[in-house]
């Protein structure tokens, strides 16, 4: 068991942050190029495939959605390649790649986040009838939110003594407005993602409220993950419509 001092240190170092997602901005995947040459292009054809081209050998990594029918399969294919790494963020391994759920339907331009150049693939909320946000200790692929290189191996001690396994997240409050079909039972959900087994287990739910700013405040009892795990908050409905006022906000503590 952790020492009292380490738990106290973790508590003192805890940071309360907020994640805010609007229409079509749930990040399905983040990709990084890990080779020593150059990226030629990253192109998403929503109904068909994701093609990664670089000047390495082999030059091309293609994930065809007819074969890789879930985000988990897409990520596994990318992570098995020599020069690319990917991570699922605001989605699930079971999220389907069918029916043009993934966007943009075009070339994808890199952005720099936390010192890391990443390519972001988003989820079309009205196609997936879902929007989600992942509360994670950090949202980087190879670097954490402070720009430090991280490892994905449990119990590995990083450059600054950082151990992934010792961290957890706690959801303090959820706030949203979404144009959904109605008061859907089990429409607002929290999943716990096991970083070792990759199991995605629904642990909490509430009925949706249609097109009205609604909050769930966990007050003195924020929902906490086990050490090393992450929590994903998701709105799931039969008919989530695009609307400029749609949003999902998750206030959480990472420690």
């Amino acid at each position: 068991m952790a020492s009292l001092e380490s738990l106290q240190a973790r508590s003192l170092a805890a940071q309360t942050v907020s994640g805010y997602i609007v229409d079509d901005k749930s990040i399905a995947l983040e990709l990084v190029y890990t080779g020593s040459n150059a990226v030629t292009s990253v192109t998403l054809t929503s109904a068909t495939d994701l093609v990664l081209i670089s000047t390495d050998t082999p030059t091309t990594v293609t994930s065809t959605f007819a074969t890789d029918t879930t985000l988990g399969a897409v990520v596994d294919r990318i992570n098995a390649s020599a020069n690319w790494k990917a991570r699922i963020l605001d989605g699930f391994r079971s999220t389907t790649t069918a029916s043009s759920v993934l966007i943009p339907n075009s070339a994808v331009t890199a952005v720099t986040i936390g010192g890391e150049s990443v390519y972001q693939i988003f989820i079309d909320g009205s196609e997936a009838d879902s929007m989600a946000f992942r509360a994670s200790y950090d949202r980087g692929v190879l670097r954490d939110d402070f720009g430090r290189v991280k490892t994905q191996v449990a119990d590995r001690v990083g450059l600054n003594g950082w151990k992934q396994n010792a961290h957890r997240v706690k959801i303090n409050k959820i706030k949203y407005s979404a144009d959904v079909s109605g008061a859907t039972v089990n429409g607002l959900r929290i999943y716990e993602i096991d970083s070792v087994t990759l199991a995605e287990t629904e642990i909490w739910c509430a009925n949706l409220v249609d097109d009205t700013v609604t909050s769930h405040d966990f007050g003195d009892f924020p929902i906490a993950s086990r050490e090393g795990n992450e929590l994903v908050v998701a709105i799931v409905d039969s008919a989530l419509a695009d609307k400029s006022t749609n949003f999902l906000q998750v206030d959480y503590t990472r420690e």
Binding site: M1, A2, L4, L7, Q8, R10, S11, R168, K170, A183, V185, N186, I190, E192, V196, T197, E202, I203, W204, C205, A206, N207, F218, G219, D220, F221, P222, I223, A224, S225, R226
Partner: protein
Amino acid sequence: MRSYAAQVTSLRVTDDTPVALRIVHKAANAVTSVTSNAGTLVLIDADGTTTITYATAGTTTIGGVADKINGLNNWDCKVLDGLRSQIVSAGSKFITGALTANVKNGELGYDLLADTSGTFFVPVRVTYDRSVGVGIPLAGHRVKIVNFSYVLDVGTAAADKVRIYEWDPVLFTETQIFSAVSIDSTSVVTTHDFSSAPITAKEGNDLIVVVTDAASLADAATTNYLQVVYVRE
């Protein structure tokens, strides 16, 4: 220190997902199969076959079945989402079929699931440790229920059909400590909130939240659930 390490978490069950018994294989040889049938539980490994018949005296309750398994050399189990006193000798009590091994909290095991429409009983066990063999010492740990919510298609709303029991593993007693009227619905959430004064078990004890009915609890795959938010510390 316990408060620093405390975790507030939530456990949610739906139709036929409560884990009545968590079974682990503790021998070095290989497991052939674990199969739940209408009247029996069959455990087969390289050393042989054990068939537990629910109609046989001594194994007519969940507690009796658990004690039988724990008396075997090669197998162990734990009663999770259920009560030791629940009768299993008649009717459909468990989901039938071959049980597939899974890993939970680092432990490989098998989940014998409760048939919620067959038992008219939807339970959730609030415990510090849902493992069988990991062996976290119970002393010094406890659980506290912050709130629980449900949407369940019960037969008839009635008094004393929503309950909390406290399980004492030393005295081997299951004592009812809370009671409420059940609400029948397929859409409206019923919540019991204890956040200002969480219901707290004695150190080492578990709490079991139950929604039950005298005559029926229909399956409703998209709406039925019982969810408990609790502190484990």
